[in-house]
Protein backbone atom coordinates (compact mmCIF):
# COMPACT_ATOMS: atom_id res chain seq x y z
CA UNK A 1 0.00 0.00 0.00
CA UNK A 2 1.31 3.39 -0.94
CA UNK A 3 -0.20 4.95 2.17
CA UNK A 4 1.80 2.70 4.45
CA UNK A 5 5.04 3.08 2.56
CA UNK A 6 7.75 4.89 4.43
CA UNK A 7 9.17 7.43 2.04
CA UNK A 8 12.90 7.79 2.22
CA UNK A 9 14.47 11.20 1.87
CA UNK A 10 17.29 9.76 -0.20
CA UNK A 11 15.11 10.10 -3.27
CA UNK A 12 15.35 13.88 -3.43
CA UNK A 13 17.72 16.69 -2.68
CA UNK A 14 16.86 19.72 -0.58
CA UNK A 15 18.30 23.17 -1.02
CA UNK A 16 17.67 26.48 0.70
CA UNK A 17 14.52 28.19 -0.60
CA UNK A 18 13.11 28.59 -3.11
CA UNK A 19 13.22 24.84 -2.82
CA UNK A 20 13.14 22.63 -5.87
CA UNK A 21 13.25 18.86 -5.59
CA UNK A 22 14.21 17.08 -8.75
CA UNK A 23 15.21 13.55 -9.45
CA UNK A 24 15.13 11.11 -12.34
CA UNK A 25 12.82 8.13 -12.17
CA UNK A 26 13.96 6.67 -15.45
CA UNK A 27 15.87 8.19 -18.34
CA UNK A 28 12.51 9.08 -19.94
CA UNK A 29 10.60 10.28 -16.89
CA UNK A 30 11.40 13.37 -14.94
CA UNK A 31 9.70 14.12 -11.65
CA UNK A 32 9.99 17.57 -10.15
CA UNK A 33 8.62 18.65 -6.77
CA UNK A 34 8.42 22.05 -5.24
CA UNK A 35 7.63 23.40 -1.83
CA UNK A 36 4.26 24.84 -2.84
CA UNK A 37 2.09 25.81 0.09
CA UNK A 38 4.86 25.56 2.63
CA UNK A 39 5.20 28.55 4.90
CA UNK A 40 8.44 30.47 5.11
CA UNK A 41 9.01 28.99 8.57
CA UNK A 42 9.10 25.57 7.00
CA UNK A 43 11.68 26.47 4.41
CA UNK A 44 14.54 25.54 6.67
CA UNK A 45 15.18 22.12 5.23
CA UNK A 46 17.51 19.66 6.84
CA UNK A 47 20.07 17.89 4.71
CA UNK A 48 18.70 14.65 3.36
CA UNK A 49 21.34 12.64 5.13
CA UNK A 50 20.68 14.24 8.51
CA UNK A 51 19.56 11.96 11.31
CA UNK A 52 16.45 14.11 11.65
CA UNK A 53 15.46 14.19 8.00
CA UNK A 54 13.19 11.13 7.86
CA UNK A 55 10.19 13.16 6.75
CA UNK A 56 8.71 14.84 3.75
CA UNK A 57 6.27 17.73 3.37
CA UNK A 58 2.63 16.60 3.14
CA UNK A 59 2.49 18.14 -0.33
CA UNK A 60 5.41 16.00 -1.38
CA UNK A 61 3.81 12.83 -0.09
CA UNK A 62 0.59 13.63 -1.93
CA UNK A 63 2.54 14.45 -5.08
CA UNK A 64 4.44 11.18 -4.90
CA UNK A 65 1.27 9.12 -4.54
CA UNK A 66 -0.29 10.96 -7.47
CA UNK A 67 2.72 10.54 -9.70
CA UNK A 68 3.24 6.89 -8.83
CA UNK A 69 -0.33 6.06 -9.75
CA UNK A 70 -0.93 8.27 -12.77
CA UNK A 71 2.36 7.62 -14.51
CA UNK A 72 1.34 3.99 -14.86
CA UNK A 73 -0.93 5.17 -17.67
CA UNK A 74 1.31 5.47 -20.72
CA UNK A 75 -0.80 8.21 -22.30
CA UNK A 76 -0.23 10.55 -19.34
CA UNK A 77 2.11 13.24 -20.54
CA UNK A 78 2.10 15.64 -17.63
CA UNK A 79 0.68 16.04 -14.14
CA UNK A 80 0.20 19.47 -12.61
CA UNK A 81 -0.90 20.29 -9.09
CA UNK A 82 -1.98 23.34 -7.19
CA UNK A 83 -2.05 23.10 -3.42
CA UNK A 84 -4.51 25.66 -2.12
CA UNK A 85 -5.67 26.41 1.41
CA UNK A 86 -8.75 24.26 1.17
CA UNK A 87 -8.35 22.21 -1.99
CA UNK A 88 -5.84 20.39 -4.14
CA UNK A 89 -6.32 20.76 -7.88
CA UNK A 90 -4.79 17.99 -9.96
CA UNK A 91 -4.52 18.23 -13.72
CA UNK A 92 -3.75 15.03 -15.59
CA UNK A 93 -2.75 15.95 -19.13
CA UNK A 94 -2.88 13.25 -21.78
CA UNK A 95 -0.88 13.12 -24.98
CA UNK A 96 -4.12 13.45 -26.98
CA UNK A 97 -7.86 13.78 -26.44
CA UNK A 98 -8.11 10.10 -25.58
CA UNK A 99 -11.33 9.10 -23.82
CA UNK A 100 -10.25 5.53 -23.17
CA UNK A 101 -7.08 6.74 -21.47
CA UNK A 102 -9.11 9.26 -19.52
CA UNK A 103 -11.23 6.42 -18.17
CA UNK A 104 -8.04 4.83 -16.81
CA UNK A 105 -7.23 8.15 -15.16
CA UNK A 106 -10.61 8.07 -13.43
CA UNK A 107 -9.85 4.62 -12.03
CA UNK A 108 -6.61 6.01 -10.65
CA UNK A 109 -8.45 8.97 -9.14
CA UNK A 110 -10.59 6.55 -7.16
CA UNK A 111 -7.44 4.79 -6.00
CA UNK A 112 -5.96 8.14 -4.90
CA UNK A 113 -9.10 8.87 -2.89
CA UNK A 114 -8.95 5.47 -1.20
CA UNK A 115 -5.29 5.89 -0.33
CA UNK A 116 -5.26 9.50 0.79
CA UNK A 117 -8.87 10.00 1.94
CA UNK A 118 -8.70 13.73 1.35
CA UNK A 119 -12.01 15.41 0.59
CA UNK A 120 -10.77 18.41 -1.28
CA UNK A 121 -9.32 16.99 -4.47
CA UNK A 122 -10.41 18.69 -7.64
CA UNK A 123 -9.42 16.37 -10.45
CA UNK A 124 -9.25 17.45 -14.06
CA UNK A 125 -8.23 15.23 -16.93
CA UNK A 126 -7.84 16.57 -20.41
CA UNK A 127 -5.46 16.77 -23.34
CA UNK A 128 -2.11 18.53 -23.23
CA UNK A 129 -3.06 19.99 -26.62
CA UNK A 130 -6.01 21.73 -25.00
CA UNK A 131 -4.39 22.78 -21.72
CA UNK A 132 -0.63 23.17 -21.38
CA UNK A 133 1.44 22.96 -18.19
CA UNK A 134 2.79 26.43 -18.99
CA UNK A 135 -0.74 27.82 -19.07
CA UNK A 136 -1.54 26.15 -15.75
CA UNK A 137 1.62 27.60 -14.24
CA UNK A 138 0.15 31.06 -14.81
CA UNK A 139 -2.65 30.21 -12.40
CA UNK A 140 -0.35 28.81 -9.72
CA UNK A 141 -0.07 25.14 -10.68
CA UNK A 142 3.25 23.35 -10.74
CA UNK A 143 4.17 20.50 -13.00
CA UNK A 144 5.05 17.52 -10.80
CA UNK A 145 5.57 15.00 -13.59
CA UNK A 146 6.43 15.14 -17.26
CA UNK A 147 7.02 12.22 -19.59
CA UNK A 148 9.63 13.11 -22.14
Amino acid sequence: MLSSRRWKPVAFETQPGPVLYTFLLTPKENLGMTSIGVSSESLHVLPWNSENSEWVYPEQQVARVLVELFKEIPQVKSICARFGHDEITIWTLLASYDREAREKVYEKELEVCKILRIYDFDFRATSADLVSPEELALSGSREIFRRN
Binding site: R102, Y106, A125, L130
Partner: protein, 100 residues
Amino acid sequence: MDWSATCLFYAAVHYINAYFRKVGIPIPRRHRGEPGKPGRINIVQQDPKLSRIYPHYRHLDDESRDARYELKRISETDYDRFLLPQLENIRKFIIPKVTT
Protein backbone atom coordinates in the same frame (compact mmCIF):
# COMPACT_ATOMS: atom_id res chain seq x y z
CA MET B 1 -23.92 21.93 -29.48
CA ASP B 2 -21.65 24.18 -27.43
CA TRP B 3 -23.57 23.74 -24.19
CA SER B 4 -24.69 20.16 -24.73
CA ALA B 5 -22.04 18.59 -22.49
CA THR B 6 -22.84 21.08 -19.76
CA CYS B 7 -26.56 20.29 -19.99
CA LEU B 8 -25.81 16.57 -19.74
CA PHE B 9 -23.49 17.13 -16.80
CA TYR B 10 -26.12 19.07 -14.85
CA ALA B 11 -28.73 16.46 -15.71
CA ALA B 12 -26.34 13.94 -14.12
CA VAL B 13 -26.04 16.19 -11.07
CA HIS B 14 -29.82 16.08 -10.62
CA TYR B 15 -29.90 12.28 -10.89
CA ILE B 16 -27.22 12.04 -8.24
CA ASN B 17 -29.00 14.56 -6.02
CA ALA B 18 -32.14 12.45 -6.35
CA TYR B 19 -30.17 9.45 -5.09
CA PHE B 20 -28.85 11.47 -2.16
CA ARG B 21 -32.38 12.50 -1.24
CA LYS B 22 -33.61 8.93 -1.46
CA VAL B 23 -30.91 7.50 0.81
CA GLY B 24 -30.92 10.42 3.23
CA ILE B 25 -27.63 12.07 2.33
CA PRO B 26 -27.87 15.87 2.64
CA ILE B 27 -27.51 17.35 -0.85
CA PRO B 28 -24.15 19.14 -0.96
CA ARG B 29 -24.17 22.74 -2.04
CA ARG B 30 -20.89 22.33 -3.86
CA HIS B 31 -19.43 20.03 -6.49
CA ARG B 32 -16.17 19.83 -4.55
CA GLY B 33 -15.63 19.56 -0.84
CA GLU B 34 -14.76 22.18 1.68
CA PRO B 35 -13.16 21.70 5.08
CA GLY B 36 -15.24 19.17 6.98
CA LYS B 37 -17.87 18.89 4.26
CA PRO B 38 -17.56 16.54 1.31
CA GLY B 39 -18.82 17.83 -2.00
CA ARG B 40 -20.96 15.92 -4.45
CA ILE B 41 -17.99 14.51 -6.31
CA ASN B 42 -16.39 13.37 -3.05
CA ILE B 43 -19.48 11.41 -2.04
CA VAL B 44 -19.56 9.73 -5.45
CA GLN B 45 -15.87 8.84 -5.06
CA GLN B 46 -16.24 7.40 -1.57
CA ASP B 47 -19.62 5.67 -1.77
CA PRO B 48 -19.06 2.03 -2.79
CA LYS B 49 -22.29 1.98 -4.81
CA LEU B 50 -22.00 5.38 -6.45
CA SER B 51 -18.34 4.91 -7.33
CA ARG B 52 -19.54 2.59 -10.11
CA ILE B 53 -20.87 5.60 -11.98
CA TYR B 54 -17.87 7.79 -11.18
CA PRO B 55 -16.25 7.36 -14.63
CA HIS B 56 -19.48 8.37 -16.40
CA TYR B 57 -19.90 11.37 -14.12
CA ARG B 58 -16.27 12.41 -14.59
CA HIS B 59 -16.48 12.13 -18.38
CA LEU B 60 -19.38 14.59 -18.36
CA ASP B 61 -17.61 16.78 -15.80
CA ASP B 62 -14.39 17.00 -17.83
CA GLU B 63 -16.08 17.35 -21.21
CA SER B 64 -18.36 20.09 -19.94
CA ARG B 65 -15.43 22.00 -18.47
CA ASP B 66 -13.43 21.50 -21.68
CA ALA B 67 -16.33 22.96 -23.63
CA ARG B 68 -16.93 25.87 -21.23
CA TYR B 69 -13.40 26.91 -20.41
CA GLU B 70 -11.17 25.47 -23.15
CA LEU B 71 -13.61 26.03 -26.04
CA LYS B 72 -13.54 22.39 -27.07
CA ARG B 73 -16.01 21.84 -29.88
CA ILE B 74 -18.54 19.06 -29.43
CA SER B 75 -19.77 17.32 -32.53
CA GLU B 76 -23.10 15.61 -32.96
CA THR B 77 -21.22 12.34 -33.16
CA ASP B 78 -19.53 13.05 -29.83
CA TYR B 79 -22.91 13.80 -28.33
CA ASP B 80 -24.74 10.79 -29.75
CA ARG B 81 -22.05 8.15 -29.43
CA PHE B 82 -20.20 9.17 -26.30
CA LEU B 83 -21.72 11.90 -24.14
CA LEU B 84 -25.38 10.90 -24.11
CA PRO B 85 -24.51 7.26 -23.30
CA GLN B 86 -22.63 8.51 -20.21
CA LEU B 87 -25.80 10.12 -18.91
CA GLU B 88 -27.80 7.06 -19.88
CA ASN B 89 -25.51 4.89 -17.76
CA ILE B 90 -26.03 7.21 -14.79
CA ARG B 91 -29.78 7.29 -15.34
CA LYS B 92 -30.04 3.50 -15.58
CA PHE B 93 -28.12 3.17 -12.35
CA ILE B 94 -30.03 5.79 -10.40
CA ILE B 95 -33.65 5.41 -11.50
CA PRO B 96 -34.25 1.91 -10.07
CA LYS B 97 -32.81 3.09 -6.77
CA VAL B 98 -34.99 6.15 -6.41
CA THR B 99 -38.26 4.75 -7.69
CA THR B 100 -38.62 1.71 -5.44
